[in-house]
């Protein structure tokens, strides 16, 4: 791995509530090179909040604190909102979960992709048009010219997610965060969308943070895995070594995955007392 793209030490994301301040991310530390990192965890484990914190998209009154929070040598915590806007999209981008909600319903697909490009680069209309069509082709959309003129409600979920990927990759960022990119899709198109992300990330040598609740998916598409629970990283390992995980939470999760060749009548349920008591 080359020099780290992202260095995070002791990241905390907190929200004030009526019962006091609640930390949803509690002291997360990791570094990331130009590699594929998976973050897994259940709902509310803080994995999505970690992703959004990297873009500094935690809305007030939420706050982000960290000892180190550097992207490519830039201290993200010190960046103004204006400086962050130059980083968002252009250098760090994020594929969101459900294209039904994450694409603007009143703008055509082409307009939305073009906007991602034009926000960061001054290009002629024709050049923009060309780049958009090339990008749509790169995410395996057959008839890019027709699709560019469609509205989000006129395309399928899988297509919508490919459009999302096109939109997030067109300014050629260095780091892509994929926040549950396939959770809203049918199983049949999940693999296709993941293959496209994988292909693009490899070709451009980007860093990828793949956030998911699906252990199997993450272990087959990533180099390294972080397991999160209640705002903390409980396990960190290479994808191939997931079987040797030591934390009881990870072991519990692995044990609960059904296998095709198994004869168990009942899948085990997570026993939270094993780690919560600590």
């Amino acid at each position: 791995m080359s020099a780290p793209l992202l260095e995070i030490e002791n990241l905390r994301v907190s929200f004030p509530t009526q019962k006091g301040i609640i930390d949803v991310v509690r002291g997360v530390s990791f570094t990331l090179g130009r590699e594929r990192l998976g973050i897994v965890g259940e709902s509310g484990s803080g994995k999505s909040m970690t992703g959004r914190a990297i873009l500094k998209l935690i809305r007030a009154p939420g706050t982000i604190r960290a000892d180190t929070f550097r992207f490519d040598g830039i201290d993200l915590l010190k960046q103004t909102e204006k400086a962050m806007r130059r980083i968002r999209g252009a250098r760090i981008s994020m594929v969101m979960q459900d294209p039904k909600f994450s694409l603007n319903p009143v703008m055509t697909v082409g307009e939305q992709i073009a906007e991602a490009l034009q926000t960061h680069q001054r290009l002629s209309r024709r050049e923009t048009q060309k780049r958009v069509l090339t990008m749509l082709e790169a995410v395996r959309i057959d008839d890019p010219e027709r699709v560019a003129g469609l509205y989000p409600h006129e395309i399928s979920g899988g297509m919508g997610q490919r459009v999302m990927i096109a939109m997030m990759l067109i300014p050629e960022p260095d780091l892509l965060i994929a926040d549950e990119p396939t959770s809203a899709l049918d199983v049949s198109v999940q693999a296709q969308v993941l293959d496209i992300i994988d292909e693009q990330v490899r070709r451009k040598g980007m860093g990828l943070i793949f956030i998911s609740h699906d252990l199997n998916l993450v272990s087959s598409y990533c180099d390294r895995i972080l397991v999160m629970n209640t705002g903390e990283i409980v396990e960190e390992c290479q994808a191939g070594e997931l079987r040797n995980a030591v934390h009881p939470y990870t072991r519990g999760l692995i044990a609960a995955i059904p296998r095709l060749d198994e004869t168990r009548d009942e899948l085990p349920v997570l026993d939270r007392s094993a780690w919560v008591a600590k």
Binding site: R88, M96, N104
Partner: protein
Amino acid sequence: MAQNGGRLRLLAFESETVADIAAKPARRPGFHRSRGARLLVGLAGFIVSVLITFLGLLAITFFIGRLVPIDPVLAVVGDRAPRAVYEAARLQMGLDQPVPIQFIRYVASVLSGDLGTSVSTGKLVLDDLKRVFPATLEMATLGIIIGVLLGVPMGVYAASRRGSLVDQIIRVIGLLGYAVPAFWLGLVGLAVFYARLKWVAGPGRLDIFYDGLIDPVTGIVLIDSLLAGETDIFFNALWHLALPASVLGFFSLAYIARMTRSFMLDQLSQEYVTTARVKGVSERLVIWRHAFRPILVPLITVIGLSYAGLLEGSVMIETIFSWPGIGNYLTVALLNADMSAVLGATLVIGAVFIGINKISDVLYRVLDPRAR
């Protein structure tokens, strides 16, 4: 609001079904009609739906008019008229006929442009309406322009700075719009801006020495005076309009700002707004391009209903400002049991509602690709 929204949607739904039925053959495979023909069928469906709605409106106003415990004959002849005179008047008014026949006659006369004669003014109702409706139209249009131009930006701004001082102030203004009675605001406005500060003109549409100087072409003084090239009269009319239109504008502003704020708050929490931020789009564009554009459709409903409400004529405001508008006319007609005038004015108001609904309908399709 919820009720009104329902009504609007109901009308929209109705027009679609009618248009659908009419347009069906064009969609069936095997029929390859040109685009123009399909457009024509759609237009025909649209017209049919307007006519059906209008007929329903006629029926409702007519039967309410007949159900009211008022004897229209007495209103004409007075209660001391001899029996023979009463009978003659009743016969002349066609009230001896069965109600369905009366209704058909009524529809026929309305379609031929005859709304009857007003008992209280002694003129044709149609002529009366031509005089009073433009007065209301003028004031309401200026009011809604003020309401939209100030209310929409206020709502958007308040939503984008949620919880800030400006947001609080805008919310208080919104509440005032609900809580303050129109007559109070009108009177205080007159006392302060007319009597004390002399910034605006007093009641009436024009100063007395300008009255009757220009021929009514449209009935809207601002337009007529310009057509006649009389800028003096134009500015005098504007001076007179300023206060009542501002009062009306304030009420629609309060409503529009409140609704815009809540629509925008809803939009700003949408995923695609976050998507835009992820792309690095500036906050101004996030707000106006990504959050504001999708709210145009519900906003048009709100503005349309607000405008239609103003066009009904605010009796309070028209009374306080001696404004010869339709609200005033309708109230006087009701008090005098002048049924032809009441029915005529109700029809105009109903037609305005239908018209605004239909315009909103068309605008929905222009603005929301999902509704096309």
